[in-house]
Amino acid sequence: MNVTAIIINVIAIIGLLIAFAKDRGKATKPLKIAGKSFIRMLPMVFVILIIIGLLLGFVPASQISRFVGEQSGMIGILLVGVAGAILHIPALLSFPLAASLFEDGASVSAVAAFITTLTMIGTITLPLEIKELGKKMAILRNGISFVIAIVIALIMGAVL
């Protein structure tokens, strides 16, 4: 068990203890919500796990790095950026997926672009965003977010 996992679990336990000390009646509610969202997420957890397994088992690193590795350059980054914007993967599960791409030869920039567009841009939630905030703001936010994601990716590729 690594340090990060320990810290996250300690935070959760301390949080729960504080909740119990503060309000015993209300303290079981977070657990119920946690259980429900966990079950809701479960099929996607396994989908992502199998994809990671197949990816690392069948797609050789040379193939991955040809498309999204260092030598693929700007096109590779734009490619994963678009994929991240379109795909609808729970943000929490995008990180293990990104880690497996990284392990299999993807560049830092490509991984950063993927995660950033995936979380920042919501093509599925766009109609709702337009309805609530208007076309102008919604399209500006999503459009500029894409540009930002690519810039962040390029800087990270240069720095790390």
């Binding site: 990060t4 949080g15 209300k26 966990f38 690392l56 069948f58 880690a99 497996s100």
Partner: protein, 185 residues
């Protein structure tokens, strides 16, 4: 609300179907190439362990915030704040794990109606989408502290710039409209 539940249920069914399809593909592939079985299963198992160690705790943290930090609290604080403090609050309140993004849009809309600054709302929404605390924790686990911290810092800088930029664009285009309509009269 009923509509939302219906949607969630449909999403759930879709996820299970997707799992079924992926599972069939995996079994087929592995029966054609049995030599890859060990590698695939070992990888799968490693990632499974890493996820199993953190996901339950992350879900509990999500649940805690959902119960103890209400929407009303967020709206109360963000509606009043302005300037640097406003931007700072927008990032903090957006980063609190209080629900999926579609919950944030109606909140943002009502805040705008109440006169909150556009830049704050854009920063709030973007922070909500991409710098949620549980997400950062999972990123730390899988991609390491250097990756997580540099992406976090860059994201904060750029969403603040974007917020101010969009505010200017919206104000400018609305000014244009006002001039046009007054000119017409």
């Amino acid at each position: 609300m009923k509509n939302l539940k219906e949607k969630q249920k449909r999403g759930m069914i879709r996820d299970w179907i997707l799992l079924g399809i992926i599972l069939i593909i995996a079994v087929l592939l592995l029966s054609i190439f049995p030599d890859r079985k060990e590698l695939v299963i070992n990888t799968l198992w490693d990632y499974f362990i890493e996820m199993a160690l953190i996901l339950p705790a992350v879900m509990v943290i999500l649940g805690l915030f959902a119960v103890f930090v209400s929407k009303e609290t967020v709206i109360k604080y963000l509606g009043k704040a302005s300037g640097i403090k406003g931007i700072f609050l927008a990032i903090i309140l957006g980063a609190l794990p209080t629900g999926p993004l579609y919950v944030a849009f109606p909140m943002a809309a009502s805040l705008l109606k109440k006169g909150a600054k556009i830049s704050n709302i854009i920063v709030f929404l973007s922070a909500w989408a991409c710098i949620k605390i549980p997400q950062e924790l999972v990123e730390l686990q899988f991609l390491g502290i250097r990756f997580m911290l540099s992406r976090l810092t860059l994201t904060i800088i750029f969403i603040v710039i974007m917020g101010i930029f969009i505010e200017k664009v919206v104000e400018w285009s609305e000014d244009g409209k006002n001039i046009k309509s007054s000119g017409g009269v």
